[in-house]
Symmetry: C2
Subunit: 225 residues, 2 copies
């Protein structure tokens, strides 16, 4: 049985925890980051540093999602909202079909590297109201993956592993600290500067701050304001 | 109800028939082609010409799938096999997770254009043995699409329409001729030259030739050999 795994890896708090966990479980990890015309590239720089430090392979896949209009994360005409915590609706930072596109590319990499496991650091607890962060969504993707691929057809079942799915941000932080994750190197902010320093104001920063508070852990995040 | 539709459109025989059908059914069509480091760009040129002639919007999405290794269609180290007709196994022309990636991008476009219908010219009859050409695969994608998106969450159900799924190549050709499709402009060949002329030898050419024979229609394809 293959112990190769592909890990969706942004260099943020959740995916870094996920990568550390997959490594601890003995997987030979390919950390997969996306260059998708984000507002900043500091998360890609952080991702590479973290992957190097963990001694895992790192791959950046270029996909110009700015060909879509309609999201504050890729469209300079829409400003990033300064709200804290999960809201009721779907926020403007939602990128159309992003997780589906990213998981599809991860599936391609899983095929070419003979990996049967794809790890994704999604949580359905402290999340931002994106529909593609829910357990039923991930189950549907796993079902699709097994119908879509040579591996699935030949009976080598693909697993979408979302070990953080039922964890709060505080739980994730506690898990990561047990695994030895250095969160000062991770970048979660939607508008971090080139040094990987965070704004402290966006939705993502708000969830992260609250997580450290609730975990009773000093927040090691480097803020620029 | 929106009558916008996104059509996966390669400029080949099947997707051109599919586009003509969606247009006849009254959809406001966005024809979506992919530039994915194919061996030739003649199918993109053909796609644009056909879309212009039909008077539908045409969008090319750039996605560098050659970042994957492992398929004869994107990897110059693997030669395209010269076999005719469907074979038992999965051929080397299979691109890892291709339909899943393409449908995911179409889903993103459906979200930003408020389309509830995505058309794909897949057939499970005269196909090349790709696992992602089967009805159960498309059903799984539709299920995923409705869990993944704002539209699905808000109850505006997304449909993956595959009107050719149960048609043989000959049936598709008969349908297209009824719809007025000019097949001399379509490019199906895996290694067409820059003039859109076909090799007549690859798997795709073989299936197409057989289709015209079975339909009892003169093959209008332009061959270079």
């Amino acid at each position: 049985m293959s112990k190769n795994a592909v890990i969706l890896f942004s260099g943020g708090l959740d995916s870094t925890t996920c990568l550390a966990l997959a490594k601890k479980e003995g997987f030979d990890c390919l950390a997969l980051s996306f260059s998708y015309s984000q507002r900043h590239s500091s998360e890609l720089i952080a991702a590479k540093k973290i992957a190097d430090k963990l001694g895992v392979k790192h791959q950046v896949f270029h996909i110009p999602i700015n060909q879509f209009a309609g999201s504050a994360l890729t469209d300079d005409q829409i400003s990033v909202p300064e709200t804290h915590g999960a809201s009721d609706g779907i926020p403007s930072t939602y990128v159309p079909a992003r997780n589906t596109i990213f998981l599809s590319v991860a599936l391609g990499w899983a095929e070419v590297t003979d990996a049967q496991d794809i790890f994704v650091g999604i949580s359905s607890v402290d999340y931002s109201g994106y529909p593609d962060c829910r357990p039923e969504y991930l189950n549907a993707f796993q079902n699709l993956a097994n119908l879509a691929t040579k591996a699935g057809v030949e009976g080598r079942s693909l697993q979408i592993q979302a070990p953080l799915i039922h964890l709060s941000k505080a739980d994730t932080i506690r898990l990561g600290i047990d695994l030895g994750v250095d969160y000062s190197q991770t970048v979660s902010c939607y508008q971090a500067n080139e040094n990987g320093e965070a704004c402290g104001k966006c939705d993502s920063c708000g969830l992260r701050k609250k997580g450290f508070e609730e975990a009773g852990v000093d927040d090691p995040t480097r803020y620029f304001s």
